[in-house]
Amino acid sequence: MTSIFDSLQQSLAFLNLDLFMLLSLIALLGGTVIFLVMAVNALVAVYFERKVSAFMQDRLGPMEVGILGFKGGKKFWGGIGQTLADAIKLLTKEDILPKSSDKFLMILAPFIIFSGAFLTFIGVPFAQNIVISDFNIGLFYIVAMSSIGVIGIILAGWSSNNKWSLYGAMRAAAQIISYEIPIGLSLLLVVIVSGSLHLGDIVQWQESNRWFIFHSPFTFLAFFIYFISIVAETNRTPFDIPEAESELVAGWMTEYSGFRWALFFLSEYANMLIVCIVASIVFLGGWLSPLHLINIFPESWYILDGPLLGLFWVSFKAVILIFIMMWFRWTFPRLRVDQLMYVCWKVFIPFALANLFFVSLWELIF
């Protein structure tokens, strides 16, 4: 399996650059692609989220702002330019640094969070061969990199010199560190069964056997534990106690504005995309088409199955998962801190451990 990195290296070979120049060129190109993906993702996802929340609350959401006069659908899906306008507004806003904040750390924090999301993208495959760099230990890399953000969150909370921010940061740290455990344990099931940390191999395994979510009752459960835990990991409602606007103003983001706040926003939605892509790759068959699940489709439909459509299927599954995350967000009220910890330590972790045990048994028996 090749990666974007490899193919770029090959196709740029004719330039006869020395290795250092070549690598920086590739890094630049790859970085631009990632950044574009993140930006477009945030623009689209925010619009989508606002619409979903509006419809669930019997509202209409943004309806007026268009792009070059085109507002989108008349009845429900209007206002497609809203998030773009918001982004421009955000970038032109005043960038406030509180007087008694720790200025260096405060400026640093959003970039750490952003780099966390950015670095994670390097290992995330969007389809077969469409991955910036193809790691052997891709799954491990992604789990490791997505925890970098928590450092940024703590720095942001601390450097703001604001009680709300610090509370928010502490809560975020406690929450993210706690929920890493059920996430890790659920992913471990997959690693045990497929015997690889390489995301391509995991999909390979699902192709020759079956999707992991249908592998056994235990992986089925593991998927839900994983999915709910990633909602908590990305600090989204109902697990958004670090931001908890009704208690903590905006949690660790309270003192941020303008561009740095936009970075937080970008990273939040990027993280959402990452965890959903990982969930769809690990549990939902990645770039495999769902047509094989029930063999009722005519033969001609299987062109949808081609390798070119891998990108489509991954994004399709990821979008559905993102929609479910939004659906969560606009359904449930925020958990209390103790309830949050209860769910993690007393429900998810015991169940994930039991899952691990039973899946190992399952593997022994079958």
Binding site: V52, F55, M56, Q57, D58, R59, L60, M63, K75, F76, W327, F328, W330, T331, F332, K346, V347
Partner: protein, 486 residues
Amino acid sequence: MSEYLNNIVYGVKSFLTGMKLTMDHFRNKKELVATLQYPHEKWPIPERNIGFNHSEYNLIRSRLHVDIDDCIACMQCERACPVDCIKIDSIKPPKGSEIDCGMTSNDTQKKMIVSRFTIDMSECMYCNLCVFPCPEDCIYMVGGPNAEKHEIDYEFSQYKRDGMIFDFADTTDEAIRDAGGEKWLDQRDATLTKHNDGVQLKGEVKSVKPEPTAAPIKTGAPISTTKPAAQTTESSGELEIKSFNGISDKMCRGIAKKAFMAAKRAGKDAVAILADVAQALSEAGKMSDEIQSILDRLSVSPSKAVAPAVEAGGDIKVESVPDTPEAVEMKEFDIKDLNAIEDKMVRGTAKKAFIAAKRSGEDKVEAVRKTLADAGKLDAAAEDLLNSFSGASVELSAPVEVATLSESAEEAAVEPKGDLPLFEISDLNGIDDKMTRGMAKKIFMVGKRAGKTRTEVIADLRLGLTEAGKLDDATDAILNKLKSEN
């Protein structure tokens, strides 16, 4: 343990219930979305009967309407209104006059002309009490689904609070005058002027004050270059009652004029007259900076030759002396000076006009000003530029009598930054054609309410009349006269 498991089962159950609920809303958004995209969509007004036997009035009370042709000005509605928001003025044509006030649709002979019928809907409380006493059924609420006569319009939003005062009277000034309403018209115009002045004064007292240097430069220039003594003696006789019109406060103006007349009858000279006026004003406690400076302007010419007898005259002498050199230094108006105009288009127009004026030997400043005003491009910056030259060019172009100058200086001094004061609506009476006159007056009032300057209003008039194809030579001449009359 069982409690633990029960909790989990309960959690999953309520989880699903919640998800189902929101999904239902998401899926059924077509029926459930409650938002009304307000300016694009509007709720229909619910049908409602106001409770009396007026089946044709079966409508929601959203605004009063008056069929003014049927109104006999009986004042019943005005009297009935508990909040006094209806104001009716009527004029009874003098006995024996041939004026026919018209018939109502109930075949009642109207005996009066309704010169004003305003309803302040911002005060109205929609009690409908004014509707019932009307003998002609001509005042009523409109704006419901069953209103056939009138469009459904329940917003009646206005950008300004003034807009909430709806005027239903449609009598022309002409008709009012014919019916002997001269006095009423005067009164109305006075009120309008007063309001207008009030609006202009509001928070900007400073801008009404004269420019400290502008006037002395103008008056100073000819005095320093021509024979001063001869002119001042002449001009002392030119002090007229009109000179006090620049005083904006009505009371003060009255006092000043009274004092002036008394002094004049006593045969005093200009300096003494001014002294009297100043005294009268300060006795009444009305002496403001503004008036002081007007008096100063008036006294410039007399006091130049005669020793300063009055304080006011004394002041101006001290002031005007240092100003005089500036006036002498003023250079001639050159085409290069127009480069200061920023807008390319405006600059082009101005230069064209300049060259044309130079060829024909007209006053260049005036020519440029006129062209710009006609093109509607005369903004504050250009105006300033031209004003800075008008003093010099006046001096160069034609010998102007000091009296006229001092008067123009006085007028220029009252208005901010050399804008001429707005002329009176009655100045438009010179227009022969009735239609044209009406139109011109309408435009004038619009301009006046918007606080426009003289040039702007004249430009508006020209534009409006040209558009209507009514700008004939006579009217054009009147407008030109108004423009140059200063």
